[in-house]
């Protein structure tokens, strides 16, 4: 027994915790996304790196300025949002626009709602939706995936001066999604899987996104039901449509092209803006899957993942309300 009674700390039970923390969750997501980031830099060189960097900077600076007392740069969530915005952009995106996108994602997507955990819509997608509305040309100008040989080649639009008439490179390549449905045969599914195609930074390699998903599932930082239900519903619905009329794209193209895999794994699974229950996650995922196919096949847009997720984000509180767990001992079966 110590000579003097130790001063004792009073707390209430439980006195043990599992030891996962919100910053740790963010780090796991960043690790999960790292292969995709590496691939985007491999395929698109320094432009990719610059776009991602300014998006993160835009997000973190906005958090630092506007988040007030709720400011928390250390938890990694602002950086992650910035990174996610960057990965939805094309490599030739003018940097000032990318910076703005990161800022809007945090400003309008998160802090305006009351900070982390309070927002209805996925902040990164709010950032991208803003850019798409504001700069429709820049955000749909694509450069081909190149590889390390051209690492330092940037497109002239990268350093465009803010608010001057943007100098857009001639559309140097069509993405596999361009005019989706009509020319879905332009990219082989293997190329789509590996990512050796043009597109937004994070959208190109489905395979690496899946690697990240597996890591996050193992780390249990991830609601696997959401991407699984998205993939299954997209495959089922687009498969049905393709059977009806083979002018509609095949399920494999639907699954592997554009931002579907990336969006399903890294955007739709944002815990803040997705349902809390397992049952809710299935409904949410299936809803996204159906909307993606409908928008891509019948809508005016080539790509529908962003709007599908944002739309289902809006429904999330209702999904939560209708999928409340039934308490133990209050179920009929007992």
């Amino acid at each position: 027994m110590p000579a003097k009674d130790p001063p004792l700390i009073l707390q209430t039970a439980p006195f043990l915790i599992r030891g996962t923390s919100t910053p740790r969750v963010m780090i796991d997501v960043i690790i999960g996304i790292a292969p995709v980031v590496a691939a985007s830099i491999w395929f698109f060189g320094i432009s990719a790196l610059l776009v991602l960097a300014v998006c993160i900077a835009g997000a973190m600076i906005t958090e630092a300025i506007f988040a007030g007392e709720k400011k928390n740069l250390a938890d990694g969530s602002a950086a992650l949002t910035g990174l996610l915005v960057g990965l939805t952009l094309p490599p030739s995106m003018p940097l000032w626009m990318a910076f703005l996108g990161g800022g809007v994602a945090i400003g309008l997507g998160k802090t305006a709602w009351g900070g982390l955990g309070q927002n209805i819509f996925n902040p990164a997608l709010v950032g991208r939706a803003f850019l798409q509305a504001a700069f429709p040309i820049s955000i749909t100008s694509w450069t081909p995936a190149r590889g390390l040989a051209d690492f330092f080649r940037t497109s002239s639009s990268t350093f465009a001066i803010p608010f001057m008439k943007p100098t857009v490179d001639a559309i140097s390549t069509a993405t596999p999604m361009k005019g989706s449905g009509k020319n879905y045969k332009t990219a082989s599914w293997l190329a789509l899987l590996i990512g050796n195609v043009s597109g937004s930074l994070g959208e190109t390699s489905a395979l690496l996104a899946l690697v990240g998903a597996i890591y996050m599932t193992i780390r249990r930082t991830f609601e696997w039901r959401i991407p699984v239900s998205i993939f299954v519903s997209v495959a089922a619905l687009s498969g049905g449509l393709h059977l009806l009329n083979n002018a509609y794209p095949t399920p494999s193209f639907m699954l592997l092209s554009g931002g579907l895999v990336f969006g399903a794994i890294f955007m739709a699974t944002d815990p803040v803006t997705s349902p809390m229950t397992a049952k809710g996650a299935w409904i949410f995922g299936v809803g996204i899957g159906i909307l993606v196919v409908l928008i891509r096949t019948f809508g005016a847009l080539d790509e529908g993942v962003m709007y599908a997720i944002l739309f289902m984000n809006a429904l999330c509180p209702h999904i939560d309300r209708y999928t409340q767990p039934k308490p133990f001992g209050r179920r009929k079966s007992s």
């Binding site: 004792l8 439980p14 006195f15 043990l16 915790i17 923390s21 969750v25």
Partner: protein
């Protein structure tokens, strides 16, 4: 078993690190007698006992010192031979001051038990048995300290089909039930047989978590051939030892919310209580001692100690060697126990463990905003929505917490707080809500 569909665990729950290795293979050992004992009159659920001794009285070990103060109340006996030096208010584990009998041990006494004739349990009638259990001062030794005789007095029209014996011990660190089952299997089985006969239960079923294979084996060996008794190995998962989770695991049935196991014709009891029944009906020893697991990073020699009730925590910790670095003391388990404000409180009938945590093992509570990850919903064994409950409690929307999310169904196991990556004190907030709701119902 007729309608019973066995599943070996319940759904949801958590897997805390067990931390049992320090004490799980240490044999029971006896805490030496100390100078003074403090015996609070209300150390069980229900009305406090009434002192039947006064300052200056000589008492013998095992002698009645306080009688039941009502039906839901029980007897209290002296753990030592010595002299009553006071009946006054004394600090107890939860920080309150309560009336307690203070006894100074006679250092020259042999500490032989006062020989109460062991009752012939075979011939006892049901109601005499219930009375005897109250006379023995028996309470549930799992931690809640509910007077046992109340459980054993089956109300009119109720029947006990299954006697369920809880040997889960799902709290991390604690190994007292484990050691009792492993070393005193014969007594545990005997106690269970006595109870089974008196309750006229068709069958007695032990539920033991699979991390205690020696205990399971010892119990199985101790069951006489032909006895309607069995031992079930259950998954290791917290809170497997919660009564309703145990029934779910063993029988696949859910006790309806707000109901008791008896509504499913079951009585659930802790295994340590079975050994205490044997102690009383075979040796005439009332509940004057219990096994306490003393462990944690702040304890030099962890132990499973047989401690006389009323022994000051200070002496128990000194016996096991308390580190100077200790910053937190917990009475009970780390998931549902309580932290002590002082070492000058006594070991009670419900004290299953004394854990000492040093600074580096302490839980650092940094809170982040809720990110709605849903881990608490997946942890809650009661299938509540802890996230909403905590949120509503924080906004003082207590009635909504009950009306929309069944706050009062929460058994406060703490699984939600355990898993929360944002460090939100979820169960603590729910406890606040429950307290307010309970008050408002009065």
């Amino acid at each position: 078993m007729d309608t019973a569909i066995a599943s070996s665990t319940f759904r949801h729950g958590v897997h805390p690190q067990e931390h049992k290795e320090a004490t799980e293979s240490l044999p029971l050992e006896r805490m030496p007698f100390v100078e003074r004992y403090i015996l609070p009159l209300g150390q069980h659920i229900g009305a406090p006992s009434k002192a039947v001794v006064k300052s200056g009285d000589q008492v013998q070990r095992g002698q009645l010192i306080a009688a039941p103060g009502g039906y839901v109340s029980t007897s209290l006996h002296s753990p030592v031979t010595g002299k009553v030096v006071g009946v006054a208010s004394h600090r107890t584990a939860n920080g309150q001051f309560v009336p307690a009998i203070e006894i100074e041990a006679d250092p020259y006494s042999s500490q032989r038990m006062v020989q109460e004739s062991a009752a012939d349990w075979q011939s006892l009638s049901g109601s005499d048995f219930v009375q005897a259990v109250q006379d023995a001062g028996l309470v549930g030794l799992g931690g809640a300290a509910f007077p046992s005789h109340v459980k054993y007095a089956l109300p009119e029209g109720k029947r006990c089909q299954y006697l369920v014996l809880n040997g889960c011990e799902c709290e991390p660190y604690l190994t007292c039930d484990h050691r009792v089952m492993a070393e005193r299997a014969d007594d545990v089985i005997l106690g269970a047989r006595i109870l089974q006969q008196k309750l006229q239960a068709d069958r007695a079923v032990f539920g033991v978590e699979a991390n205690k294979p020696d205990a399971i084996e010892a119990l199985r060996q101790a069951i006489p051939a032909g006895e309607a008794m069995e031992v079930r190995a259950l998954h290791v998962k917290y809170p497997q030892g919660a009564e309703k989770m145990l029934i779910k695991a063993v029988f696949g049935r859910e006790v309806p919310a707000g109901k008791l196991p008896l509504d499913l014709n079951m009585v659930v009891n802790n295994v340590g209580t079975m050994a205490a029944i044997a102690d009383y009906f075979v040796r005439g020893q009332p509940l004057i001692e219990r096994v306490v697991t003393v462990s944690g990073p702040g304890i030099a020699s962890p132990a499973n100690l047989i401690v006389p009730i009323g022994t000051p925590v200070r002496q128990v910790l000194a016996h096991c060697g308390l580190s100077e670095k200790t910053q937190q003391l917990i009475m009970g388990g780390p998931m549902m126990g309580q932290s002590l404000s002082s070492v000058d409180v006594p070991v009670l009938k419900g004290t299953s463990g004394l854990l000492a945590f040093t600074g580096d093992a302490l839980l650092e509570r940094v809170e982040h905003p809720c990110i709605r990850c849903g881990r608490c919903l997946e942890a809650c064994p009661n299938f509540l929505n802890p996230q909403q409950l905590a949120r509503l409690s924080r906004y003082s929307e207590y009635q909504r917490a009950e009306d929309e999310h069944y706050a009062m169904d929460c058994m406060e196991c703490g699984a939600c707080t355990f898993v929360c990556p944002s460090g939100i004190p979820i169960v603590q907030l729910i406890r606040v809500a429950k307290g307010v709701i309970r008050e408002s119902k009065k």
